[in-house]
Amino acid sequence: VTRKELISYVFLAAIAVLMLVLLYELLWPLVAGGNSGRWQCSPHPPPPQLGPSIGYITAAIVFFAAGNLLGLLRYHPAADTPVSVGKALLYQAVITVFFFTVALLLLYEAIGTWLTDVNQSSLWWPITWYVRCAIEQAAWPAVAAISGVSALVGHWLHRRPA
């Protein structure tokens, strides 16, 4: 295993483990039932206080930069390997699904914001409310999620030198 491959495996495995842990934290209480791990979410949750806000934003920026740097280490010097039509389709499908998911979530955010504005008691909450509830109820897992997502996006959007 070369140094570059090792960096790749460690980075991707860390992201995968982080996402698995987060999935466990999110879904296990629903599967297990009972009142353990229940979140108390209220409508119109306030944004975090100034101190924690700065911490969250800092974590996002630092991990975005770290992911970006790892992209530089993994793919320098740049080399585009030609791929078969089948593989190219697979890549296109994965990337399309990813962006489509993001678009759907943003659309839902818009609908939720509109509905709660029209009807204060609407149960179709915008994602912002859920995220703020999650941050309030589970701050450290939220920091881990912010860091993981930022690192991955920073890694993906690294622009290789020509």
Partner: protein
């Protein structure tokens, strides 16, 4: 506003999914997608095929403005979700 009734554990056709349950389910969607992409990237790396990251980076190099737009969206969302507001 009239909403379509959903029949997945709700009562009387009205969407009464508890917010804390909805929050967990909703947040698990992007986490699942990122987990799947990370696992797929590990598989591609092991097969010595160009990774998803590599393909995306090529796309980023070809479309720097679109990539900048994506980063702007991410930054705006993070700021919107997480940043303190003046009262």
């Amino acid at each position: 506003v009239s909403l379509p009734s959903l029949d997945i554990g709700f009562t009387e056709g009205r969407p009464e999914l508890e917010p804390q349950v909805a929050a967990r389910l909703l947040l698990s969607i992007p986490v699942t997608v990122l987990l799947a992409v990370a696992l797929l990237d590990i598989f591609l790396e092991a097969k010595k095929w160009p990774s998803i990251s590599q393909r995306l980076q090529t796309w980023t190099s070809d479309h720097p403005l679109l990539a900048a737009g994506l980063v702007a969206v991410l930054g705006a969302l993070v700021g919107h979700f997480l940043f303190w507001q003046f009262k």
